[in-house]
Chain length 170, copies 2
């Protein structure tokens, strides 16, 4: 899973058109707005399919951590396919997004933008050093499996075990 | 290079704070706004360092293509590190961004947000099907080099030659 977290003066969206993978939604979900919110752009990835519950749980922890740092109680969960080139199935994506929504809803004001719709949106990013953060999350790799990538014949072995569960880029 | 192109009702930014890799800028670059613009979020990547000029040129072609499709004459070039986990050096990034700015400036109204600054920004995405696109661009691989990735012992060989120079995700 790839996350892009933006501390926003406001975030609002409005659905425009369904795509072939559009989630079925009721009227209240067709638009939404939050003030002074943490906007969480989310791409659920193929690798997350081995344990969607665990990934959802880890993502919730990251979101809560950042929400605490920027002191906001409002969270917009916003599916964002463009954050990854290796997306999960739409079914898993909706499962994970819904699980995150459910888990966070007890403690925060949470809205979730629907999956699989073309949407107009407006966002204002506050611009302080913590107002734009990204996180990569993956399921625990219980078998100590390695990811091997070789470019130009120079193999580079990256042990999953050596990677942090989530890494910050800023 | 990773590009995220957003057809925007408006895009505006204001620098807030320099980072250690901040580009030196004059007052006019400290804020900027365009109406009805194509906003191009850009991450210059390590792989682009082998041929920054070629990557800049290919990116300009992609940007022009999309600008034509959405019929806009205003382009905001906006550095966005969060689109990649394998960034180029800041020096190469600024070189590529500046080259793109220079190349596009003859034909479009172009603004470029400065590299290496924390910035506040506001954007309104129009929401039609072409209003959010992403592109991956890499330098031509003249030696037909392969990228090999193996996960869980099942190697997957992806020939660079089989990949399009740029791929659309939406
Ligand atoms: Mg990526």
């Amino acid at each position: 899973m790839q996350l892009l977290l933006i501390h926003s003066d406001y975030i609002e969206y409005e659905v425009k058109k369904s795509t072939p993978v559009a989630e079925k939604i009721e009227d209240p979900m067709k638009s939404g707005r939050l003030e002074d919110a943490l906007t969480v752009f989310i791409a659920v990835e193929k690798a997350d399919e081995v344990n969607p519950d665990e990934v959802a749980q880890k993502a919730v922890s990251e979101v809560e951590k950042v929400a605490g740092q920027v002191k906001t109680e409002s969270i917009m969960l916003y599916p964002y396919a463009h954050l990854s080139s290796d997306l999960s199935s739409p079914k898993v994506a909706v499962y994970v997004l819904t699980a995150m929504e459910k888990e966070l809803s007890g403690k925060y004001i949470v809205k979730r933008a629907p999956f699989g719709w073309y949407k107009a949106f407006k966002i204002s990013c506050k611009g302080h050093p913590l107002s734009e953060l990204s996180r990569s999350i993956s399921p625990e790799n219980k078998d100590g499996v390695n990811v091997v990538c070789a470019l130009e014949g120079k193999p580079e072995v990256v042990s999953e075990a050596l990677k942090a569960e989530s890494t910050a880029k800023s």
